[in-house]
């Protein structure tokens, strides 16, 4: 029985945190909301230098060949800092190529995805909901035609992994013929969304992806859950910090029992819940895929619900200042909303869980 992050995983989290602590400050993230061009790049190189890009990519293709849990622990840390950029989607795309590509495709793309020289994202839903493989309807022909919505950081992506009918997946490269990107006004300005239109666009099918399409989605669900856990935990820390400093009515507001209890109630929701994403990540590598899917659905549903509650409570607790743009508390709220509804709302995944549980 050993259910905890390893010392190595924690040390790696610390080194990521050290980097982000300097590079990914609140003003820096706020600036990405206002920037004209996509904001991901500035953190990208730093993280890639630390080796994040290749964590779960097989060693023969330049990665570290580690497990999803190793990556999820990093995403937790990135979530603490509401780090901009398509870390999660990049990982999903890399898994799609690792699990679904030919050896030639793997050799062609994975080393550059590992080093971060190439950036990737995923294009899944075509309108309302429709995130899971069974919902993809874009025809799988020699070239692609149609549109995908809510594609994160597409402008910045060298590769876009596209979900196709029957749960197939194909890779489209930057600048491909007939590929058109339209920026969408994104609530979470640190994860910019695009509508991606394909017009007789050349694409390369990942031949084995059909069998593992759900697993690639599960990667996304687990990593969103990890991001949510990191973010929610940080919301508590920032709230505690503020409650210790802010004085009203002659005392720190953290002395008021109402504030204490609101934070205790939050702690009881957030703090023990790390294991949900740990287990889901662990199960991805060590359990039957159906069991892993079930755990991923539950982790995503539960933790992203917790995150929205935590970020709302944090803003309320800050009072008027919490409602200001400058303070940046809203960064966590907006990320929480992203994590909550990207790849499907929690109630959808609870319904999936119920079915997978055989209810």
């Amino acid at each position: 029985m050993n259910f905890d992050l390893t010392d190595e995983q924690r040390a790696f989290q610390d080194s990521i945190a050290n980097y982000l602590n300097d590079a990914c400050t609140i003003p820096a993230v706020l600036a990405t909301f206002e920037a004209q061009s996509p904001p991901a790049l500035q953190y990208w190189s730093g993280l890639m230098e630390l080796g994040v890009g290749g964590l779960t990519i097989p060693e023969q293709f330049g990665g570290f060949g580690l497990e999803l849990l190793d990556l999820a622990a990093v995403v937790e840390t990135a979530g603490r800092f509401v780090m901009p950029g398509p870390l999660i989607e990049h990982a999903m795309a890399a898994y799609a190529i690792s699990l679904g590509g030919t050896e030639a495709q793997q050799a062609r793309w994975l080393p550059d995805l590992a080093s971060g020289r190439l950036r990737a994202t995923v294009a899944l839903t075509e309108g309302q909901e429709g995130w899971m493989p069974g919902d993809w309807h874009m025809p799988c022909d020699d070239t692609l035609n149609g549109a995908k919505h809510y594609v994160p950081d597409a402008l910045d992506a060298d590769l876009i992994v596209v979900g196709l009918s029957g749960g197939r997946m194909a890779v489209v490269e930057r600048g491909a013929n007939g590929l058109e990107l339209t920026a969408l006004p994104s609530l979470d300005g640190s994860r910019r969304l695009y509508q991606v239109t394909f017009n007789a666009t050349p694409a390369e099918l990942l031949p084995a992806a059909q069998e593992c399409a759900q697993r690639i989605c599960d990667v996304g669900l687990v990593l969103l859950a990890a991001d949510a856990y990191g973010g929610a935990k940080r919301c508590i820390e920032m709230s505690v910090e503020y409650a210790r400093q802010r004085v009203q009515f002659g005392q720190q507001i953290g002395k008021f029992q109402a504030v204490k209890h609101q934070l205790a109630d939050l702690a009881v929701e957030v703090e023990p819940a790390a294991g949900l994403y740990w287990y889901a990540a662990h199960a991805f590598d060590h359990e039957r895929p159906d069991k892993a899917s079930k755990a991923a659905a539950l982790a995503k549903a539960h933790l992203t619900d917790v995150y929205t509650a935590a970020s709302r409570r944090m803003i309320e607790l800050h009072g008027g200042i919490g409602y200001t743009w400058e303070l940046g508390a809203h960064l966590w709220l907006k990320r929480a909303v992203f994590d909550h509804n990207y790849l499907g709302r929690p109630s959808l995944h609870r319904a999936r869980y119920a079915s997978m549980a055989g209810w």
Binding site: L187, A258, G319, T324, H330, F338, N341
Partner: protein
């Protein structure tokens, strides 16, 4: 029990309708000239339909209080799309305060021009270190010759950039105990030393501002109430701040939109509204909405009889905030992918408009007395639980 209006009130409604059909003939979407609006307001005021609580000699409609008539006027004016009273803290807060606590010359000088929209006011209460705890305000005013010289910083000042005057709580008696040291001053914003900076909100809006005051001057006589009596003067407003009808209308409209959303959005190949979990949730919200409606009716009934609505009145704001939070939670589940978006200039707003409500519902549990302060007030003043110096109610203890 009678949910209808009396014959007297129905006659009044017909009178209003006749007035409106004669005097306000613009289409719903028309944009009448400011002069037309001003002239209409003046006429409606002379008829006693607007500014009913303001005496004629200050430009008001001067009518005996009648909450039901007030409701009928609000309903019919809204239905006709006719201009109502100028909104804002000037007409809603300053004017009643001057009528109650001001000197005669102050009323003559400020009331008419405020209700006609010439003087536009902002409120200078909150400061960076005094959110809930107004008694700790630090902006100082010193009487130098026949002028107050004011230095300090105000914050959360709504619409300050549109205002030309401010009413403010200023510490003029630094030696006095916390609440007793504040005075209620009127300040002309059109002078050097005033620096107004917009505060950007989490939803991108900028209704709020910081106002910096550096050696700002105002005549010695522009004080409402006695020196050091500002706290009490500012509290006299509380009874004028309510607009229940408006808040119920907002809840009704919010719920109707949410229902529309649930009809539009698909879930498992059918409208989400057919899902039993969604139906249960919306019916639960309908319960909360009807509670607000009938509580509102009870309060109207009691007030129209000159009775106090007591505890019910203290619960309105928290009920309203709670409802907003429940709606926010529900809408996030319903809007699905559009929750990832926000409004953008030039783009037609779809379901992502709900994200404004999602964020705005947070503001409603912060602004105008946080929910925690509301709970203290309800528990202590409403339920009679023992007061505790450490449980602030935003009130002098």
């Amino acid at each position: 029990m009678d949910l209808h209006f009396s014959p007297e009130h129905e006659t009044f409604r017909q009178e209003i309708q006749a007035f409106l059909s004669t005097n306000w003939q613009f289409e719903k979407d028309a944009k009448p000239a400011p002069e037309a609006i001003k002239a209409f307001r003046q006429l409606a005021t002379e008829q006693g339909y607007l500014y009913r609580g303001v005496p004629k000699n200050y430009g008001g409609g001067e009518q005996p209080a009648d909450v039901l008539k007030a409701q009928i006027i609000a309903q019919e004016f809204r239905r006709a799309g006719a201009p109502t009273e100028v909104l804002g803290v000037g007409t809603q807060m300053l004017v009643p305060t001057l009528l109650e606590c001001g000197e005669e010359w102050q009323r003559e000088r400020f009331v008419r021009k405020t209700i006609e929209g010439e003087y536009r006011w902002c409120q200078g209460y909150s400061e960076p270190n005094s959110g809930s705890d107004l008694a700790s305000l630090r902006t100082r005013g010193e009487l130098v010759g026949d002028e107050w010289v004011i230095n300090g910083q105000k914050v959360w000042t709504s619409y300050a950039r549109d205002a030309n005057y401010m009413f403010a709580l200023v510490r003029t008696e630094p030696e006095a105990p916390k609440h007793a040291g504040l005075s209620y001053l009127l300040i002309d914003l059109n002078q050097p030393g005033i620096d107004i900076r917009p505060l950007k909100q989490i939803n991108g809006g900028t209704e709020f501002n910081e106002v910096f005051l550096e050696n700002v001057r105002t005549p010695a006589s522009w004080i409402v109430g006695p020196r050091g009596g500002g706290w009490k003067v500012s509290r006299s407003l509380l009874k004028h701040e309510r607009n229940m009808i408006g808040s119920l209308d907002r809840s009704d409209a919010l719920f109707a939109s949410l229902l529309g959303l649930a009809r539009r959005v698909q879930r498992d190949g059918a409208p989400a509204l057919q899902d039993s979990a969604v139906r249960d949730r919306l019916a639960m919200l309908a319960g909360h909405l009807e509670v607000q409606r009938y509580s509102n009716y009870i309060q109207l009934t009691r007030e129209s009889r000159g009775q106090s609505a007591g505890l019910l009145q203290m619960l309105n704001k928290l009920s309203q905030s709670n409802f907003g939070h429940l709606v926010a939670q529900t809408s996030l589940d319903l809007v699905q992918n559009d929750a990832l978006l926000t409004g953008a200039p030039g783009r037609k707003l779809g379901n992502e408009r709900w994200m404004n409500q999602y964020m705005g519902s947070l503001a409603s549990s912060i602004a105008g007395g946080t929910s925690n302060i509301q709970r203290n007030i309800i528990a202590e003043r409403g339920l009679g639980l023992p007061r505790d110096a450490a449980n602030p109610t935003g009130e002098a203890s």
